[in-house]
Symmetry: C2
Subunit: 307 residues, 2 copies
């Protein structure tokens, strides 16, 4: 089963051919890692576009047709739908097919797999590529999305280590850095770096939307506001799913943040500039360190990336 260097996958099934699934397909093709790609989705016109863009070779609206011959099944649908997908494919996949996913939360995906397969199937490798833009749909997909981005794999106790190695090698072949982590730990970390920021960005823009001066506020916004709120242009249904799926970890970080924000508010009320400055300095220092280390400030922004 394990992938040999240079050996391509005969048949790849992409479940959900959007930004994430489409970019994975494109990346696999670019790396010459795949012979045939079939796509499944609920929106036929999107699938037709995917064929036209040569992201997939063919598609079906019947998921069984798409997975039955697949060696690798890549599930890139919103996390809330993964259990349903697994139930639908369970009885139709090849015995040695590898399944992986790109869900933004991992505890619930592994639980879903345990429910559907009684225990997590040994060939199911839960994963999460830490990459994306605020755009969605196959038109927004591009082959280099995962290059120099991190992919976290969260195998369970049941997972076949060879399957993990196989999926890991695939991601590395398309330029990603792979990290293995426990699912629960993944959800904690991502609640902080991704889910909480999204919740705050959505909330802030929503609050501003309710102000009388709404129109004027948006008209007088500068680049900082544009960057800060970029993630508020993300897909609402997907983020509803993620927030609910990672509710506990997200609530924990949210409470922590709200407590800290209360202190900031109180310092502001008292005119305690020293306190504010310390908060701002700590934040700037951390962020500057992070940007220096990751070098990620040099990545092109979403709008300058090739489609």
């Amino acid at each position: 089963m394990s992938l040999q260097p240079g050996q391509s996958i005969k048949h790849l099934a992409i479940i959900g051919v959007g930004l994430i699934g489409g970019s994975f397909a494109r990346a696999m093709r670019s790396a010459d890692m795949v012979q045939h790609i079939s796509g499944y989705g609920r929106n036929e016109s999107n699938l037709k576009t995917a064929v036209q863009l040569d992201v997939i070779d063919d598609y079906s609206l019947d998921i069984k047709d798409v997975v039955k011959d697949a060696d690798l099944i890549f599930i890139a649908t919103p996390v809330g739908s993964i259990q349903k997908i697994l139930s639908e494919i369970k009885d139709h996949i090849k015995a040695d097919a590898i399944i992986t996913d790109a869900g933004s939360t991992k505890v619930n995906v592994i639980q879903a797999a345990e429910i559907v397969f009684d225990k997590a199937p040994e060939n199911f490798v839960a994963g999460h590529p830490i990459a994306g833009t605020e755009n969605s749909g196959v038109e927004a997909s591009f082959a280099t999305l995962y290059q120099n981005h991190r992919v976290i794999l969260t195998p369970s106790n049941y997972t076949n280590p060879e399957a993990v190695k196989w999926v890991s090698d695939l991601w590395k072949a398309v330029g990603a850095d792979v990290l293995i982590m426990e699912a629960k730990h993944h959800d904690q970390v991502l609640a902080a770096t991704s889910h909480l920021p999204h919740l705050l960005a959505f909330s802030l823009v929503n609050t501003l939307t309710t102000l009388d001066e709404k129109q004027e506020i948006f008209e007088n916004a500068a680049g900082g506001f544009r960057d800060f709120t970029r993630i508020a242009s993300s897909d609402p249904s997907m983020w509803q799913d993620i927030c609910l799926a990672n509710k506990d970890a997200l609530l924990e970080h949210l409470e922590h943040f709200m407590g800290d924000l209360k202190q900031v508010k109180s310092a502001l009320e008292k005119g305690d500039g020293e306190f504010l400055k310390q908060v701002f300095q700590r934040a700037k220092q951390s962020r500057d360190d992070f940007v220096d280390k990751s070098g990620s400030e040099n990545l092109p922004p979403p709008n300058l990336r090739p489609n």
Copy 2:
């Protein structure tokens, strides 16, 4: 006094030769609008760099020398220092010199001018270019910073309309869109679009900095986090000043936001996905509309802008 088309300023004084002051000097030079530029600042090595980069022609650490022959005095120091600057230059400027500033808050700047000059001097035109990056210092300045950006002027009742027209024409000559607004209204609007987002970005990064998994959290951050927190790399002292200077308007918006965030938290606790989705949808809709209208998503990010 009023600027004739094509007529250049004989002597421009830049008080504070950093990103904002330096970019104004560069822009004025690029537009061939100025004959001589003198700079004042507290950091001599920064001023030397500014001369080397041809941003200014000469400098002095004595502010009197810099302003005494100036036709236009551009104050680009943190808002908390503007009153002191005005006191220092008051008795040394030419009678018909025009003074303008780039402070991020306007009520307190006008109050400062009223205190220093008894009433606001008729040639003082309070202003705020809505432009900037998270970088600071003259090395970060560039001539096109203000192109297609908005500049808000907030003249007081005392301000000579000709002086307003003169400053407005200058900004237009370097490609900015000029808007006239009451100072109090400016501060309300900017509290929402700029000051609150900065406070939240600083606060969030500060909160994450205090977590045990700090290192890991930053390592696993994706592009969305980078964009969301970009403004947390802004200058802490400057933002301390701004927050205190615009305390009332900022607190009002902060309270409103915290109230809304509580509702979001409560929906999350109850697993009320419908509520969350509505918040996310409203936010996405507003931001997408704003980006479509402003077209500003197509601007290059700070790191790709020329220095």
